[in-house]
Amino acid sequence: MSVDTTAAARVPAPGRSLVVRLRGWLANPWNRPRLLVVITLGYIVWSLTPVLIAVQFSFNAGRSRSVWQGFSLRWYTQDPDLSVLHDPSLWLALIQSLRLAALTMLVATPIGVALAIGLARWRGRGAKPANFLMLFPLVTPEIVMGVALFLVFAHMYDFVPFGTWAQFLGHMTFSISFVVIIVRGRLFAIGRQYEEAAMDLGASQLEALRRVLLPMLAPAIFAAFAIVFALSIDDFVISQFLAAGQSSVTIPVRLYSTARLAPSPALNALASLMLFATLVAVTLAGLSLRLFRRRDPTAAGGVESLSRWEF
């Protein structure tokens, strides 16, 4: 590699215009792909700056969302009327979001794990259609699912009240398939030989499942818990279609209804709290994967696998 000499030879003569020099620097084929670096860094700055500004102004001491007036927790706790802590419509939205996400996580994950194991092992007649059915919620546009669930609760299951219950059932429906996708990758990687060995050694099928397979699936199950939590707290369309009045307003629904009508830094504070909750969930998922990776050198890196939904 003669990078140094060629690069030195290409140093532009002084006096050439800035534009020409910049073009030469960007197009220099012997160095890093600078144009690509510039585009990528530009994209990352563009993709994160507005959100960082939104988080910054949730800590603003003043009412403005564009003029910085000093750091304060006014919009989180201190303002006696308008802060997230003291405005019931804001903290109720936070509680509704957390409650729905926790409930969905606790119920969807076991059902999804059972479905993943069942679908991977079951070879009977219904297995193929069931495998296909499971994929549909993943590819259906959210608005279509929102309309479908709205109409089914309005006209068929009218014993389910709109609000928290309908929202919970809706969140469950899109979460189960995600759990299956997360768990089944791991399931295929494990294979059947461990269960087989356990059963050869005298374990019953149920014991092999409970004492061999489930512990081996633990990281994927834990990741599924965290990701269902993040998906549920993130959902807007289903929550909005199935909401009923103030009591079932979640954070995204609240952001939608007030962002244009009555924006205030308190809304930014509410959004930031949701962001922190999601980040905690995702970090936990990542950590559980790492913990598991340490025992399994063949697996890919944490971020890498997160980016490909491999758990």
Binding site: R32, L36, V37, I39, T40, Y43, S47, P50, A54, R65, S66, V67, I111, L115, L119, W122, R123, A130, F132, L133, L135, F136, P137, L138, V139, T140, P141, E142, I143, V144, V147, A148, L151, H155, M156, M172, T173, I176, V180, R184, R192, M199, S204, Q205, A230, D234, I251, P252, Y256, A259, R260, N268, A271, M274, L275, T278, V282, V303, E304, S307
Partner: protein
Amino acid sequence: MAGSRTPTSTGIVGEHPTLWTGLALPGVLWLLLLFIAPFYAILAVSMGRLDPIFLSPIPEFNPYYWDPSVFADVFGDIFGGPLGPTFLRTIGYVVAATALCILMGYPVAYFVARRAGRWKGLFLLLLLAPFWINYLMRMLAWVNVLDVDGQVNSLLMTFGLLQEPRNWLAGHHETVILGLVYGYIPWFILPLYAALDRIDKDVLEAARDLGAGPLRAFARVTLPLSKQGILAGTVIITLPMFGDYYTPDLLSGSPRTRMIGNDISLFILSSTSAGGKGAALTIVLMLFVAVLMTYYLLSVARATREAAA
């Protein structure tokens, strides 16, 4: 069946296939009752009648009595009626936003997958970050900075690109398209990144050894091999874009930027009498994106089959 080995079991001695069926049962039932049945409810409402007194839709669950007249209504509104411009605008927005996502997303995915070197992990983390930030919050962030006294106006005025503040949030097409690109581009970049990352480096080296220049190697090897990734990313972002209503609502709120999703959500949520029409429009939208959905479904099915093999 219990206790016996049936030919359908995967063949561990002493295994009861009923256990597997039993494990799958709750999930399958759930999907039948809360995924398949709701779709039947859309059909039943769209093919039903309108209560003459309360003006609310009465679903018709028996296909024998289905009345498709509301579909004639909807198609009349699309071809020559008020829904026509909305449909065309939706297609225009989606095409423009998708094109911008490809133009911007490809170089980024390419760089991170192939050229980022030891910084790859960090870049990947930054590319993944928007996934965990709520969509509505990301739109709220733009509502803040695009406000009349927001940072975008002051930045543009500092550089003299704008003489006086502009109200970006008052029904501008470019604002809505920007919002769509901003909202969905991470979902385009990620599958493309995965596709580019999978390309065998030896293939590229072979191309270079055989005399192809870097541009030629890219055009003849990398680009064709990443076509699947571009297609997957495009399908993943266009499907939700066609049903989007919150992006134009938040970044414009004007009828000038209304998308088909806005009409559906208005029909369903804001008026009881238009429920049948909303259901029919939802079915039309689904048929419209059916090709995309089928492609996506088949590729997900293929991916899971490959994982199983």
